[in-house]
């Protein structure tokens, strides 16, 4: 499954563990190739992690508040902020106690993924890249995550969903589908591509890819 889907997300966010050998990343017409990750986040790009990090000693609430202050560039109004967070958590069927626990520490896989969607809703980015948000989730949790994505999505923003699983797409209105094989987009189409893959699998697209190119 190493076709470069997560690499794409990490490269857009300029993760220092990845080196760009060629090409540029542009966001809303601006070259963000050399911006630091936090500067890219402040431009409105968000990434939901496949395995979100556990940070001991920092409460989830404080973390999300700090993040919101940073991306907004000004302090949030605490009362309204807390209410918004509470509402979103309810929508995502999250245990309200999680917000006072240390960030992701001891969270189940599903709770971590929902916590990512919660952060997406609160931070309200222009572009949300969701890296395998559905992996390892049961049917109900996938449905909740889809609900979160639908709440977030509007005409002014964009979502890039990285997945190898069609299930999450069934409840979303997908505009474009890109099939990535060995680091290359081999096929781009509309929602109908999802149906095609569901019926026939990926194998025919894999042939269109150029493995071992390098």
């Amino acid at each position: 499954m190493a076709h470069g889907k997560s690499t794409l997300a990490n490269v857009i966010l300029n993760n220092p563990e990845y080196t760009k050998t060629k090409g540029t990343v542009e966001f809303q017409g601006e070259n963000i190739n050399d911006l630091k990750t936090d500067e890219i986040a402040k431009k409105g790009v968000f990434m939901s992690f496949q395995t979100p990090e556990e940070i001991p000693g920092i409460s989830t609430m404080n973390f999300i508040k700090t993040a919101k202050n940073k991306v907004e560039g000004k302090p949030v109004k605490v009362f309204k902020f807390k209410q918004d967070v509470q509402n979103y958590m309810e929508e995502l069927s999250m245990n309200p106690k999680l917000i006072n626990r240390n960030l992701n520490v001891g969270f189940s896989g599903g709770e971590k993924k929902k916590n990512e969607i919660l952060q997406m809703l609160v931070l309200n980015p222009k572009l949300a890249i969701l890296d395998e948000t559905d992996s390892g989730l049961d049917v109900d949790a996938v449905r909740t995550v889809s609900k979160g994505i639908n709440m977030y999505k509007n005409e002014k923003n964009a979502v890039l969903i990285i997945t190898h699983n069609m299930r999450i797409l069934s409840e979303l209105k997908v505009d474009y589908v890109h099939i990535l094989v060995n680091g290359k987009v081999v096929k781009t189409g509309g929602a109908e591509l999802v149906k095609e893959v569901e019926k026939e699998g990926f194998s025919k697209f894999k042939k269109e890819g150029t493995p071992n190119e390098n």
């Binding site: 220092p16 563990e17 402040k42 992690f49 700090t66 991306v71």
Partner: protein
């Protein structure tokens, strides 16, 4: 890239007042100097004798052959006694303005109003302010400077002074006993429980000098006390020396919590000695934050002499560039059913070195005792050091003992995760370090927890290349 972590001003700690003094003893250490200090302080004969004998012990003892390099410390360059231009005051208004300003900026008088039952403030070698709430006085609590205690309670002082920490313990204890000046004396009578803390603050302003305050606390049977000690000094280019001594007596059924935030400047040799003797069903808890100093050697010790005695040690050490902080904890279990719990953390960056050096001794007669040690180290880069050197000497089988040590480098994945949410690299690191330190900071009174977080932010500020 400018970071906004918290508004903190290094200047608070670095305010250098003019080196003004009533009297500064000549540099160096010899009999004449010790006699002169004794004369300046109007010692009774018995105290002068302790000093002179301690000087002999000092001359006989060798420097430690282990731990950080102390070769930069030259006693010939250190003035061991600096008397500030004021007497002991019981009102801040009587404290000379430049000295009062320093303590104002450190937040001492304000904390006194808000959250403390009593305050002592030492400037260089002498205590310049001491005060306690009247209710405590009425309950028989004594909280005063050491000199007053020597004068007014000689019997208690004679019985306890340098008895918990023997003069020949090590070279710097002998030095301390020879030239000690200032510090606090606390006596809490039987059954008296103080709900709010007492705090002594020690400020060393004078360059090329030493501070040798003596803290003697007796918490009598069934009594309870929280004592807070704060220390700081502005930075000079030449070495300063701190060799204080803390002797704590926690009698049967008593409780003492001893909290310390040390924030010495980075030219300080901090060679401090602290011990507690703990009685039956009694408990001593240490909470220690060691920041700053060039070299620290500091190993608080609990001696659990009574059955069911308990001790907890919660400590954090933060070493940056050119700092070698050798800290830890010692515990001796001398009776049945005694227990100790150690939670130590260290952070090192920019080539700084942290060592956790510890001793656990469980004696033959300490059946059914428990000891649990956890130490964790976080290194912020590849050039910093962290070592753990525990010595465990267990002489009975009937014990429960565990030691857990974890050493690791700050995780790039965690930093990236936080940065992807808009935190700068510096902010992300500060957040991770604050979280790492949280189990310690939550043990501190809230103002000091805030101070500790500020110190962490301060240490990390500008640390990203």
């Amino acid at each position: 890239m400018k970071t906004k972590v918290e508004d903190i001003n290094r200047n608070i700690y670095d305010i250098k007042n003019k080196d003004e003094y009533e009297f500064k003893i000549e540099k160096g250490l010899n009999k004449k100097i010790v006699e002169e200090i004794s004369k300046q302080k109007n010692d009774p004969d018995w105290m002068r004798e302790i000093r002179l004998k301690a000087l002999e012990t000092y001359n006989k003892l060798e420097l430690p052959t282990w731990g950080p390099d102390l070769s930069e410390l030259k006693m010939d360059n250190i003035a061991t006694y600096v008397k500030p231009k004021t007497e002991l005051n019981s009102s801040w208004e009587d404290v000379p303005e430049d000295i009062k300003n320093t303590f104002d900026k450190l937040g001492i008088p304000e904390a006194e109003k808000k959250s403390l039952a009593g305050v002592g403030a030492q400037y260089d070698s002498e205590v310049v302010y001491h005060s306690m709430k009247k209710e405590l006085l009425e309950q028989g609590v004594i909280y005063t400077d050491m000199e007053t205690a020597v004068r007014e309670y000689p019997e208690i002082v004679k019985e306890h002074f340098m008895k918990c920490v023997p003069v020949n313990d090590h070279k710097f204890v002998a030095l301390h006993a020879a030239v000690w000046s200032g510090g606090s004396f606390v006596y809490v009578p039987k059954g008296v429980k103080l709900d709010i803390p007492l705090q002594s603050y020690f400020r060393l302003n004078s360059p090329e000098s030493g501070q040798f305050e003596h803290t003697l606390i007796i918490v009598d049977e069934g009594a309870s006390l929280h004592f807070i000690e704060g220390c700081s000094a502005p930075k000079y280019n030449k070495v300063n020396l701190h060799a204080g001594c803390v002797e704590l007596y926690v009698k049967d059924n008593a409780y003492l919590r001893y909290s310390t935030i040390e924030n010495w400047s980075k030219n300080m040799m901090n060679l401090n000695t602290k011990k507690a003797i703990v009685g039956k069903n009694a408990q001593i808890d240490w909470v220690t934050g060691s920041f700053g100093s060039k070299v620290s050697m500091l190993y608080p010790m609990s001696i659990l002499n009574g059955e069911n005695a308990k001790t907890e040690y919660t400590g954090i050490t933060f070493a940056g560039k050119n700092q070698n902080l050798d800290t830890g904890f010692k515990v001796v279990h001398n009776a049945k059913n005694t227990s100790s719990l150690v939670n130590s953390k260290s952070i090192s960056k920019d080539g700084g070195a942290c060592t956790y050096r510890a001793l656990v001794r469980i004696g033959e007669n300490a059946q059914n005792s428990k000891c649990s040690v956890s130490c964790e180290s976080l290194m912020l880069d590849d050039i910093s050091r962290s070592d753990t050197i525990p010595v465990n000497d267990i002489r009975t089988d009937e014990v429960t003992f565990s030691h857990e040590a974890k050493i690791g480098k700050i995780s790039d994945k965690e930093i990236f995760y936080l940065m992807s949410r808009g935190l700068s690299e510096e902010d992300a690191k500060a957040m991770i370090v604050r979280g790492f330190a949280y189990p310690i900071s939550k043990e501190l009174p809230v103002e000091y927890a805030v101070e500790m977080n500020n110190l962490i932010n301060l240490e990390l500020e500008g640390s990203i290349g």
